[in-house]
């Protein structure tokens, strides 16, 4: 069987395989505005949000769609940096392929987490935009009282993805176990850095949120 295949648009596909998951993974960190930035800092690892906010200041504009473009791009840049670091770890663990292929593999495995991130940020943003007092309670319940279900979902989805994608791209069973272990460590670190809101954070956050909503 032929070992190297000439597939149409392959170069495009390989590039997009890296950039699109990176964009999806990181964009949520950049979409916060003045009203929701504190909420996002509590919900996601705060230094990612701060990095994205820093990048956003490079080009500030009053045009809403352009502002969102800059915001998501800033988030995506942060996402890409995280992806590159994680890919480096995976590359060392797999030790059987080039860095660019490790990067592609890592990017694809982040898609489930990217979808969860996107759903969380978009859901919360929409809730905040429509929020009254009752919705604030609903947000509190969903964000503070049930973080463990979200925590569990992230870990299960990510490790399942790693295992099956690992099989798909031909990582040996022995190496795959280490890849999954690395993934679990990354996920624990990611979640420990501040995914979801703790009750203590909520106490600080609520007055700020109410104040910003009253304006």
């Amino acid at each position: 069987m032929e070992q190297n295949y000439k597939t149409p648009l392959a170069a495009w596909a390989r590039a997009l395989e890296i950039f699109i998951p990176a964009y999806m993974f990181g964009k949520s960190w950049g979409v916060a505005d003045a009203r929701t930035v504190d909420l996002f800092r509590a919900q996601f690892p705060p230094f990612f949000i701060d990095m994205a906010e820093l990048l956003k200041e490079v080009l500030s504009t009053d045009i809403e769609s352009l502002r969102l473009f800059v915001a998501t791009t800033a988030g995506a840049v942060v996402g890409f940096l995280v992806l590159m670091l994680l890919a480096l770890v995976n590359h060392l663990v797999m030790a059987d392929r080039t860095y660019i292929n490790s990067l592609r593999f890592t990017a694809v495995t982040l898609i489930p987490i990217a979808v969860l991130n996107g759903t969380l940020s978009h859901g919360v943003k929409t809730l905040v935009e429509k929020m009254g007092t009752l919705d604030a309670v609903a947000l509190y319940k969903s964000a503070v009282i049930t973080p463990w279900s979200y925590f569990g979902l992230n870990v299960v989805f990510y490790t399942t993805g790693l295992w099956f994608f690992g099989r798909r791209v031909g990582i040996s069973r022995g190496r795959r176990k280490y890849v999954v272990l690395t993934g679990i460590c990354f996920m624990l670190l990611y979640l420990a850095c501040g995914l979801m809101i703790t009750p203590a954070e909520w106490k600080v956050l609520l007055p700020k949120l109410q104040q910003s909503l009253s304006h």
Binding site: R14, S65, L68, F164, G170
Partner: protein, 410 residues
């Protein structure tokens, strides 16, 4: 197919009846028009269920009354006619698989219904609706009704593959598809009319589970059984056999899905792409534009999105949209490579009679007769191939003993 007077095929009379119902109801208000359309769709469905014969008036009345009652309960009156029509037509096509085959002009006549309904209800205010531009929306509906009408009227009929009796599993699939589609439609309608964001919950849950978990376990089943967009394509256009305006897609795009993503990347060639470029590019409208312009926050967006898909489905060959351009579909193909279960192809049993016209019945255009022992990862387990094959032992749920033997000796 022989058309006899006993069968429910007298479309002209049926259309005339609908037009009268619409006209009479329009004298009152939009509420009755909507209910009338629902009833007409119900009659069509009932006729199909009753062996394609026209129902008697006595049998029809209780069903009409029941549906009328349902419209009161679930506020169907707020749905705009285009959506109602899509439900009715979809149900009709799903159940009556041979009716429009190779007869696009007859299908075109049916699209008169939303045109007429929209014209009649154009000036009716949507009293409880939160939208402030109902007339614009009605105009869009009218336009989207006229396009299929024109396309189908000018279309060239194409001979359709023979149909076999429907399998039980396919019937179950259709019921599941219809239920999910109706759920989506209800959620969309509520979001549109009430101005709520309930459709985000639907798509949020749908995306999370159909991206992050299920594809690894059950592969592309979701494309065949659950996706509302796929259901709409199956329902409205699967059985419309005509030459599509864009009937050929560039080879570079076609070849991607056959060579790269789902087959050779990874173990065979580490440098080969995992997913086709066109499918990846399709993610941009989904994530980039949606975020930049905050489209998911707009209540018209889900309806406009579905209408856009409907038009594209009308222009492209059936399900090419899924096979070549759907980002979720490509991802599921990649993720489902090691899924737990596949449909079996017993190669030793295949007579190569080619009666099934396998590539045409498969939504993903899989060359089924050239598979080794099971369907590839691109299979969405819709069982269309099993239904099309004239023999019962070629495509099966479990591998045949002879096939097991053959594989052992290889």
């Amino acid at each position: 197919m022989q058309l006899t007077s006993k069968r429910f095929l007298n479309l002209n009379k049926y259309l005339l009846g609908i037009a009268i119902v619409l006209y009479v109801n329009a004298l009152f208000d939009a509420y009755f028009v909507q209910a009338g359309i629902v009833c007409c769709a119900a009659v069509a469905a009932c006729n199909v269920l009753r062996q394609h014969r026209m129902m008697t008036l006595l049998a029809y009345l209780p069903i009409a009354a029941l549906l009328f009652g349902l419209t009161l309960i679930i506020n169907v009156r707020f749905l705009q006619p285009g959506l109602i029509f899509v439900f009715g037509a979809a149900l009709f096509n799903l159940l009556h698989k041979e009716y429009f085959m190779a007869r696009p002009r007859r299908a075109a006549l049916v699209w008169l219904i939303p045109c007429v309904a929209t014209c009649l209800t154009m000036n009716q205010p949507l009293q409880d609706a939160q939208v402030n531009y109902p007339q614009v929306f009605f105009l869009v509906t009218l336009l989207l009704s006229i396009v299929p009408l024109v396309v189908l009227l000018t279309a060239t009929p194409v001979e359709a593959p023979p149909k076999r009796p429907r399998l039980t599993i396919v019937k179950i699939r259709i019921v599941v598809q219809t239920c999910i589609f109706m759920l989506w439609a209800w959620v969309t309608a509520v979001a549109f009319i009430k101005g709520s964001q309930v459709q985000l919950l639907f798509w949020g849950l749908f995306n999370v589970f159909t991206v992050a978990l299920f594809p690894f376990l059950i592969g592309r089943v979701l494309c065949g059984w659950l996706c509302p967009n796929a259901t709409m394509q199956d329902a409205l256009f699967k059985n419309l056999t005509y030459q599509r305006p864009i009937h050929r897609i560039p080879k570079a795009i076609e070849a991607q899905t056959h060579t790269s993503a789902m087959y050779i990347s990874g173990t065979v060639d580490q440098n080969a792409p995992y997913m086709p470029a066109t499918l990846l590019m399709a993610w941009f409208p989904m994530f980039f534009l949606e975020t930049i312009y905050d489209l998911t926050g707009k209540i018209w967006y889900p309806v406009a999105f579905m209408y856009g898909l409907m038009l594209l489905s009308l222009l492209l060959p059936w399900r090419k949209l899924c096979a070549q351009f759907c980002w979720l579909s490509s991802y599921r193909g990649l993720a489902g490579h090691n899924s737990l279960w596949r449909l079996r192809f017993n190669k030793s049993k295949c007579r190569q009679c080619k009666q099934c016209r396998a590539e045409e019945v498969c939504p993903y255009y899989i060359d089924i007769r050239n598979q080794d022992n099971e369907m590839p990862v691109t299979c969405c387990l819709c069982f269309s191939c099993m239904e099309a094959c004239p023999f019962d032992d070629v495509i099966t749920l479990r591998r045949a003993p002879e096939e097991k033997q053959r594989l052992k000796t290889m």
